[in-house]
Symmetry: none
Subunit: 193 residues, 2 copies
DNA sequence: CTAATGGTTAGATATTTATCTAATTAGATT
DNA sequence: AATCTAATTAGATAAATATCTAACCATTAG
């Protein structure tokens, strides 16, 4: 599971969201088991166990070794840890929001200028690209709430070491307003095409 | 989520095993949102969004700040990473196997009185042994939820044909409380040495 | 070659979980 | 107070998913 691809993340959680499958995973983490053993210990029929194993296998969470009539299932620990990474950072989770992965072109721009941790490597000179970056940045602010300049800087600081330039740009692009020292995020409709 | 307590791990995965809830989590990871915003962006009704948020909140995955009529939800990133740890190592996953978590002595007692299918062959007369069996039984119940007597019996019935005795013992050992007909599993700390 | 063993596949049914509308609560506004 | 707004709760219905039995496939044993 690379960069928190939504359908895969969802499939992963669905796979683990069932008592029997969690138990199966636990058992094959101890040692290899065949289907009969697994079914017996979980008090399931073999077809049911087989069905669950197929789901786990489809995600690469378990691996199958065939030996005559016996099918030996074991845990694939790498798949698990890789998957768990998908929810380890706030940035990764934010990538699950609807539209977060939407327009390819914008995403490519973000990938070019923003590290996976959410840090800007540089501020684009090109106006259209800068706009994409600023549109992404402005979402770090809540709507309908006032921020002091200090707060604005603190948030921007997380993403770039020159918050002042970004702050001025956000105002220039009418994504943020300033009135008597109070900063407010403006509705998307104020500045979108 | 401390040491991969099975019901909690399961609840966690169930909470995240739904498209809408993953999206919600993504949105509140970006910034605080109120219920209307969330419902609108996900094309759900407010009650539905509210329902999902309650599930996420029950697990501590999101936190709620009330401000007048508005309920602002934000991500609780700690809960997420803590939970993800539960599946990071093979040892942790093996802890999900049925019966995996009991220390040796207790496991021996369990083996003596419980079949591999989880059925009690007899209820120990010895208090210490009975305690081990009851401690194992009480984990079949979720914390923080009320059960009717019928539900309690239904669960106990799976493990022994005299659920009434077991039910009374669970209360006697202070592992379960009864108040006005409602049964609740008590925290381990209430009855552990 | 035939029977037995372990496993999977197919399809019907049962269970669980999401979703909606309607009713209700709590805070803000007039 | 009366009304409005945002949110939650309740309860009914709809959708998704698990489970079983029966049928089937592949391999091994007689």
């Amino acid at each position: 599971m690379d960069q928190a691809d939504f359908p895969t993340v969802l499939r992963f959680f669905k796979a683990l969201a069932h008592e029997s499958r969690l138990r199966l995973l636990g058992m094959v983490a101890e040692r290899a088991h065949n289907v009969q053993e697994l079914a017996a210990r979980l008090d399931l029929t073999e077809p049911t166990a087989s069905h669950h194993l197929a789901i786990l296998r489809g995600l690469g969470l378990v691996t199958l070794r065939v030996e005559g009539n016996n099918h030996w299932y074991t845990l694939n620990p790498d798949a698990l840890t890789q998957a768990a990474r998908a929810v380890l950072s706030r940035e990764q989770v934010a990538g699950l929001a609807p539209g977060a992965n939407a327009p390819d072109r914008e995403q490519a721009i973000l990938r070019n200028f923003v590290t996976p941790e959410g840090v800007l490597t540089q501020i684009p000179v090109n106006r259209k690209k800068r706009r994409v970056i600023l549109a992404w940045l402005v979402r770090k602010f809540d709507l309908g709430r006032a921020y002091s300049e200090l707060e604005v800087n603190k948030i921007l600081q997380k993403h770039h070491n020159d918050p002042a330039t970004l702050r001025r740009d956000l105002i220039g692009y009418k994504m943020v307003s300033r009135q008597s020292g109070e900063y407010r995020r403006l509705e998307d409709s104020e500045w979108q095409p």
